[in-house]
Amino acid sequence: MGIGSTLMSLLTPIMERIAPYAPGEIFPSFFTIPLFQNAFIAALFVTVVAGYLGSFLMIRNLSLIGDGLAHVAFGAVAVGLVIGYVSPLWYALLFTIIASILIHEMQAREILTGDASIAIFMTGILALGLVILDIWGGGITGTVEGYLFGNILLVYGESFELIVVMSIFSIAFLGIFHPILLATAIDPISVQVQGIPVRAIGLLFSITTAAVVVSMVQFVGTLLVTALLVTPAATSQLVARSFRSCIIWTQIFGLTSTIIGIYISAETESGTGSTIALTSASIFLIVAITKAAIPLFRSEAYDQ
């Protein structure tokens, strides 16, 4: 019916072919069992989008906005679980987009500095969700915990479709606006002088950020969104020498984290989100240590 299921019908035969080569006892089922297949594909999709977006968040000095918006999304999920009617992800999307736009506007109008406006929305909506949950929540604490630490197997049906659509929308936006986003991060005045509507594009960027965060919350968890949003992009800064190579390295680090993380979590029954986050952080550490230890990584251009 949706784009997601069409996509799965295309990818399933390929995945089944890879399955015999997948290592481990449980990991191969991510290539064969439909529920696991969905989860795996969604994870890869989200990793690619998060890394791409993260590359821009890094250069805009907005590394922590993902964390802030994830908390907003979590509060909204709690509200959504209590009210019901549609998937809580829709509530998350609505609240997060509004928060993201308001944070952007507060920064643009210099009402509050970036960090402070993030902090206010993050705690405000989170608190709203927790209070509503305490009063009307009843026995749904277990479901909520899934969003806190992430549960890759929650990604099916409507959630899966939503994640795929948001990922495609986000990649398209970032791809089309790539040069402008880069130029704006470096020098917004020049871009404005060149006649480009910086403000409107900033607004679209906020909406995209919100959509990416919401698509991540379910599978890596509120607390660990930054692990895929910022860590791969930060790791790439250690090895890349151009923005283009930054983007490529970010994808390599991000996808490696996700695949290894899912493998380890499948085999050891650890939480998927936390294992991916740990893998991602470990890769950063390994690259940082390697860079410090091997002068070979250093550019010869230092003495210029």
């Binding site: 000095n61 040069p179 130029a183 470096i186 002088v193 060149q194 006649g195 930054c246």
Partner: protein, 266 residues
Amino acid sequence: MSNANKEGVTDSVLQVNNLTVARSGKIVIEGVNLDISEGEFVGLVGPNGSGKTTLLLTILGLLNPVPIMGGKVRVYGKEGFSKSDLGRIGWVPQAAANLPRHIRITVRELVRLGTLNLQNMFKISDSGRSERVDRALEMVGLVDEADTDVSKLSGGQLQRSVIARALASEADFLLLDEPLVGVDLASRNSLLKLLDNLCHDEQKTVLMVSHDLTTITQAAHRIIYLEGSVRFDGPSEQIPDFSSLAGLRGIQHVHEDKHSSHGHQN
């Protein structure tokens, strides 16, 4: 493309009439009149807080004149920005302070950002943009550094790459804000020579803000001394001697600047 450029050509690049601009409710510049013609290299000097940057931002259309005072800014004979004139002004910020050093980006990538505009922002095809980048790199003498990460550049090279970005937009009128800060003495001279060549050989017009009176009087054809309003506007040779300028300002240390500005900058 060259046709489009020729159409709007008038001798006057910038006309500022009786301009008054306020920032956060306080009048910063008042009754400023200016007329800059094509090919001029104008130095805009004045103490901190004298309104230099405010004037530049108003010319760029990022700040507005106080409405009731009737002040006007005309760029290439037109008030405000019309679409055909977008890109004719190039903004060159002070690289040392405004270019984020934490971004991994090569000189070529940076300069290419200057080629973006409303017409080509969604186009995948190159449409001559690479050529413009190459030409801009050539003009500022950074061809060999094209694939170097900007964080590895010296202060002078960094400023050159920011100038190249403005040139890549095919701007004819360059506005520079304190381009000499963080640039060592030798590079300073070649940077000024570059700007001079751009005016003479490429018919560019340059308006450059600096607080370094000594250096800028050696390079610019014309000096504007701004302090709330225009206190002096004329050829560099005729600039009043430093002590009388200091009298204008009511501040004594300008005279010291003359001797020590090279020393304490770097």
